[in-house]
Symmetry: D2
Subunit: 362 residues, 4 copies
Amino acid sequence: MNTTGTLYRLTAFGESHGTAIGGVIDGLPAGIRLDMEQIRHFLRRRRPGQSDITTQRHEDDNVEFLSGIFEGRSTGAPIGFIIRNSDCRSQDYNDLQHLFRPSHADFTYTAKYGIRDYRGGGRASARETAVRCVAGAIALQVLHGMGVTVTAYTSQIGTVALPGDYHQYDFSHIDDNAVRCPHPPTALAMEELIAAVRSESDSVGGIVTCIVRGIPAGWGEPIFDKLHADLGKAMLGINAAKGFEYGAGFAAAAMRGSQANDCFVSQEGRITTLTNHSGGIQGGISNGEDIYFRVAFKPTPTLSRPTRSITDDGQPVTYTPHGRHDPCIVPRAVPVVEAMTAMVLLDHCLQHNSRKSLPENL
Amino acid sequence: MNTTGTLYRLTAFGESHGTAIGGVIDGLPAGIRLDMEQIRHFLRRRRPGQSDITTQRHEDDNVEFLSGIFEGRSTGAPIGFIIRNSDCRSQDYNDLQHLFRPSHADFTYTAKYGIRDYRGGGRASARETAVRCVAGAIALQVLHGMGVTVTAYTSQIGTVALPGDYHQYDFSHIDDNAVRCPHPPTALAMEELIAAVRSESDSVGGIVTCIVRGIPAGWGEPIFDKLHADLGKAMLGINAAKGFEYGAGFAAAAMRGSQANDCFVSQEGRITTLTNHSGGIQGGISNGEDIYFRVAFKPTPTLSRPTRSITDDGQPVTYTPHGRHDPCIVPRAVPVVEAMTAMVLLDHCLQHNSRKSLPENL
Amino acid sequence: MNTTGTLYRLTAFGESHGTAIGGVIDGLPAGIRLDMEQIRHFLRRRRPGQSDITTQRHEDDNVEFLSGIFEGRSTGAPIGFIIRNSDCRSQDYNDLQHLFRPSHADFTYTAKYGIRDYRGGGRASARETAVRCVAGAIALQVLHGMGVTVTAYTSQIGTVALPGDYHQYDFSHIDDNAVRCPHPPTALAMEELIAAVRSESDSVGGIVTCIVRGIPAGWGEPIFDKLHADLGKAMLGINAAKGFEYGAGFAAAAMRGSQANDCFVSQEGRITTLTNHSGGIQGGISNGEDIYFRVAFKPTPTLSRPTRSITDDGQPVTYTPHGRHDPCIVPRAVPVVEAMTAMVLLDHCLQHNSRKSLPENL
Amino acid sequence: MNTTGTLYRLTAFGESHGTAIGGVIDGLPAGIRLDMEQIRHFLRRRRPGQSDITTQRHEDDNVEFLSGIFEGRSTGAPIGFIIRNSDCRSQDYNDLQHLFRPSHADFTYTAKYGIRDYRGGGRASARETAVRCVAGAIALQVLHGMGVTVTAYTSQIGTVALPGDYHQYDFSHIDDNAVRCPHPPTALAMEELIAAVRSESDSVGGIVTCIVRGIPAGWGEPIFDKLHADLGKAMLGINAAKGFEYGAGFAAAAMRGSQANDCFVSQEGRITTLTNHSGGIQGGISNGEDIYFRVAFKPTPTLSRPTRSITDDGQPVTYTPHGRHDPCIVPRAVPVVEAMTAMVLLDHCLQHNSRKSLPENL
């Protein structure tokens, strides 16, 4: 449903063109000093209208916090917040009222609920990911205070893919370009591809890679709440996600055990691995190495061209979308991936720590 | 932790070389007539020792049901069951007591819990998947009665991959060969690869594909419990899984929207799609088309050759495993994929139906 | 934490003197036509300032719905809503910043969280019950459409108790008086008692009785989510509640089995009981008879007189509360009891129905 | 359903006359040394056949632990366990197959599930409380290691009630008598009452009081998982429970605030209260004082005399029970109350501690 997490939880609500979107963050430990500017900055990274490769809808994404914060610190009470919708040109969508757009959720929402807020995709719009970013930004602050960093970037747009592994890139370049790619030449090629796709009134998919550093060994709750399984569920729940892999991922299928195994060594009293095909997780529990994973996103289904579909009474129809849409949503998915990652990690941190808290010698 | 599901739930327990493994199935509707022979048959498909490509450990996997069934039917009460462990040559593992085997969970379990049942991998062993198969076999029976079929097969071993898409294969051939591949020539090549890998004291990974047919439109609980997100979490939680993709999957990243979109058409009064890049799920809700997805598995980490690693006090060591291990676990993962799929689907069926049950005109 | 319910869920937030209180209702079936005037009316029953026996704080309790409702009907998406706080004379509370008031939650919140929003009781204030009333009012509408009624009333204030059992009272009188007692002479005695208590700058407790009619047999999820156990938890979670009993309740302790047993009879093809000491629930499942229970509330701890206590550094202090407080909160608890009851019942209705939905002959 | 707890969880299964009862304990921290003799001793306290005031059914209640324990310590993996049923004279129940016994759950289970294991009450039998006692005994060991004690005793049988408050009794006398009452003269009167009731082929109810000492301030998760609300739900879920009150309880309804308020004082650097009408919990959070509460139980519904009832097709019938039944179950409920209390407390301990675990200065 619309709540995620066990001990660090987000309950989310809101439609694309309703009054507001928002959520309730529950389980944040008390006494955390919240950096509001960091939250706003993080939300701006997800916001549309940042460059000419994203939708021109202007969303201010001003978060109003309603509870749970007192004199700048979390109180342990739930944090309610809302972001009012503005610049909603709902009339853009009136002609979609009886239309099932291809590869959108119009049909399935109608099949499931029998009623649908058709304005701008309603609940199924990626508009709701702003709410995830608020809860994620706060989780990131807590993790950062513990020495954990979460960094996502665009590693593929269409057929333009970043070569090699992540160690060779300078993450400080990620926000230097509109596509959020840490490798400037590849970023340029990605931007050119998106421009070309847009000029053809088409859209294109891509892949986001995410790296987590500084996680201690021990997070993850086997057998049904393994760390990578919860990360996978969180990533797959992001709009347009089609796949998730961690560590060697799908490539592991073609490997031999003698290649894939990560040999343990002891370095300066700390146990580490010579390679990291495991992606920092073994048996569903973090091993202290970098966690890295990739999330595949499909192309935006809305194209600015005449499109064939059917009406809700089964009549064939051709329509031309009027709304404002991204030719490629991948760059905007980057902070959403970071947000969902941070939420899962903080939740697992709290779960793991809960059992570390008893007195010795019981 | 060790419970999965919202309305159809499995709570599992048991270590590889403990007294028994088992579980509790909760939420199965009452009055279901259970076919015990089908359950036993399903478990045999997962069991080791089925052919010379799997481990020679002999597990009878006799399930003893302890409750919740009366005169052959479910009563609505929880179904407790156990499978006793037998043929446990625990002494095979005594020398592993202080060893962290590469790419196993020995190190992470020790880091997390501070104590570890080192016999045969303990809780982290794939032995526990037999428990999933019991709950899955029962879910499959219920789904089958509703016209839903779940079929998994091996689509890749190492670099031997099944060509083309799933429609061209005759699923009745899946259990005709030891690798569970529906295409006999490819199956043969896979078997030869595994034999070669075994002769090199190595292991190899692979991919399982799963197809679900007969699902009605409407299952899935956005935004945090989307159908594919729950499927993904369930698959990633299976031992050795490294990746999950559904529909077009990672290939969607390289596609244009004009290629990837699935156009709706009305055929004989039923709304369907001309293509199915969506994989039967849109916006996290089933659309009535086939659901299909792929799960990547890494090679078994245990190799029958001298292997370098370290002891739990950081000393380098070389050891040669004595236990019996599969050179490729992918064929045995096939029924586990089906089991987890069935559990997720039945759970979502119940969740969806719960809200369809109110009187009209409220 | 701050979410309650399995399939019909409320996540609540908000402090007494923060920006707003609010919540998210998740799991309401789609297509329900919402009667906004009924919701407002229900909230007014809980609101302070209704008569001279309640606090004079003026709360408008205007609910703003933000999502999940489209053209007057529920869409199946979560319903976010807020109620802005107004007339918050926070300065009334400045001198309480370092004070632990007796029998309030000031000390325990500080002990638990290390930080406390001291204004008006913060999260621990009964202000949050307005949020419960919104989710409860909607649940009541759904239940009403199914023929289920939920009626609570004040049955005791201090030592003034309503004689006899509930069948003899005309529930249409409940809202005729300020104490919400269906028996006018007793209501008058209760009002006089409250007036006397107020004149002594004291407060007084009481009991709310609740009757549910029209529940079909079969609701309740043994063994850990029995219907009365969930009702009990919901009632005990209301501010100031100290006890819960259903059916014969504590009096059952003194009864013989031969007195307490409810004999089944068949009347006009329907199985019913001659007596109802069971309170409509047997083995944790509704039996179709009236459900009735009682909830005990302690006196308001804030008294308008000099009160001894200590500061947060352990110094003894005498203070005189300046805020506006009810000498008896019981009449205002009546709609809260109804709200929580309705939420539990709708949740159990959905849980029960989920398993009734499968095809026959499985 | 059949799982209880958030971080310390029990999933239970089993019918009175099935093959076995059992459960899965999940979330127990690793490394706890388990005292098996204490567990067996605790189970013996619940077992029938202990004296001539309880049922003569002989249950050995031998617990077989199947997993999660290695070399005498918990491993962090789930602990599966079973207790085989023996001495099940199921034929005693054959004539009850089509009978709805008064104030039993025969009718409601049939109404809910459409099918019923009628042997000895099936799932609705108090036989299942042995499973709760296993999980409770383990929780008690952990709590004991932290300095927390949980003590329950019989405070009322029929109209024989223990005078005064609990401080005056020597708890070491509780197990000296068959009724588990710490006051020998009252215990004798209770035993005489039960003997008289038995000679009349009748049964009688009673009250169990429970005292928790040594709880630190801070446990409890408002607003929906207040400590007393979770205790209340746990107690009400015990078979035959009809009411729960904590602190001043129902008597608080008749009190004035000036009487009921617990004034804080600072004694030797520790904040405490002069009185304890709050029952150790304020705002749903423990305050460090003793927690005390009372649970009311109805008389056993099975009487050894001809009893009127109906068959499942609505025909009136008179039957005489043949099974072995307690004339008063209250003494055997004493350890069950302790077990459920311990489970709730350990669960809340873990929840509270999870958020205390982060580094300072975040």
